[in-house]
Symmetry: C2
Subunit: 211 residues, 2 copies
DNA sequence: GCCGAAGGTGAGCGAGCGCTTAGTGTGGCC
DNA sequence: GGCCACACTAAGCGCTCGCTCACCTTCGGC
């Protein structure tokens, strides 16, 4: 059905790597359902229904409901990490790279809010093993941002007292976008990305950030 | 400080206004359970068990499980609003008042993480009427912070381009503390409050914020 | 034209859910 | 002492949950 395949804003294309087709439809349906109601409040019947299938079909492609969440979470975190890596490893000053990292990371959280919500807020619904795997990815995410801030601080381009704390705050600011961003609200993901990049440059004391 | 909440077992003293004793014990048990596992994953048997009572006892003091969440959410939001009001209405420059607001708001989210998690992240588990009531409180919370930022901008003490967007970001930053703060981590609530107050003053371009 | 693998369905299992009800113990008041 | 209002419990109702199973369809290879 079109409802399952067209996640608002065309988020579906991000799941192109998932095959076969039925498995992808179920995954996209699960993302929508988890984002709307939360993992525990979502039933397997709801997921299957959104994908236009019977409840039993889910268990042909996934062992349990939790495996669905695990797959979503891993793919989502890998995508988030890739976004930050791209910004972190491009050419340019720490200021430029930090602004790029924040604006693209925020764009992802705002534009792909449905996915981002699940990725960022349903971590604790995973079992211990799956959670440990995802936490390792999160540490890498953290490391990318911290790397830029460290470099800018070392070069004197930034003025940061507590690098770890500031990294935490920057990531926290970006991630929380998934909680409050409203597609029907007054701001586009691009506008929020730009605003946040400016705010973050101010937080790290980058020259010429204010004004 | 009298605002400081501690005791690993729970932040029980904050619920002093709830009577009778059994109703308060159930409420505190619900806060802990909701914070740990989420509203939907928490059973009435779990709540009653933590309070040392049978499942049926819950329904003597509360009509439904949702009423428990509603009560927790309202009391919590009122407390949060009170904290911001106190900071907003004290004497001092916008810079001082904003720093005070942020640091005390953050302290509340970090120190009372258990409560704050429920208050900030289980809003969508409420029914439409209860949610509307809580959203009205949130708008007041928003207004308090925006008021300070507006005043500082008008007086030239701050340098803010997008007042609404910046207000959103400041609150977002504070609220997300409830997601990541770890009682066993390296920072105390006070330290995070201080760090965040500094970061927020930088965000609004307050003079002399970057030390 | 037959076959087995792959992908799907309808019915339904055991478990656990939120919540109710009938009955029990207890303390205060006459 | 007799009585009732109250706080609480044991048992369990009706329902929905995650998940399974017996069976059905489709289709490429020979």
């Amino acid at each position: 059905m079109s409802t399952a395949e067209e996640t608002a804003g065309g988020e579906a294309q991000a799941w192109g790597e998932v095959t076969p087709d039925a498995a992808r439809r179920l995954l996209v349906a699960a993302v929508e359902a988890f984002a709307e109601r939360g993992y525990h409040a979502t039933t397997t019947r709801d997921i299957a229904g959104r994908a236009g299938m019977s409840p039993a079909a889910l268990y042909i492609h996934y062992k349990t409901k939790e495996e669905l969440l695990h797959r979503i979470s891993r793919i989502g975190h890998e995508k988030a990490l890739e976004i930050l890596r791209t910004a972190s490893r491009r050419e340019g000053s720490p200021t430029e790279r930090l602004a790029d990292a924040v604006s693209s990371f925020v764009r992802w959280h705002a534009g792909g809010r449905t996915t981002a919500r699940v990725v960022q807020y349903e971590l604790e619904s995973l079992g211990p093993d799956a959670r440990a795997e995802i936490l390792a990815l999160r540490r890498q995410v953290d490391g990318e941002v911290r790397g830029i801030i460290e470099e800018g601080t070392r070069s004197g381009e930034f003025e940061v007292i507590d690098v770890h704390g500031t990294t935490l705050a920057v990531l926290s600011l970006c991630i929380d976008v998934a909680r409050w961003f409203n597609v029907d609200g007054p701001r586009t993901p691009e506008q929020v990305g730009e605003l946040y990049a400016d705010l973050v440059l101010r937080m790290v004391g980058a020259r010429g950030a204010a004004a």
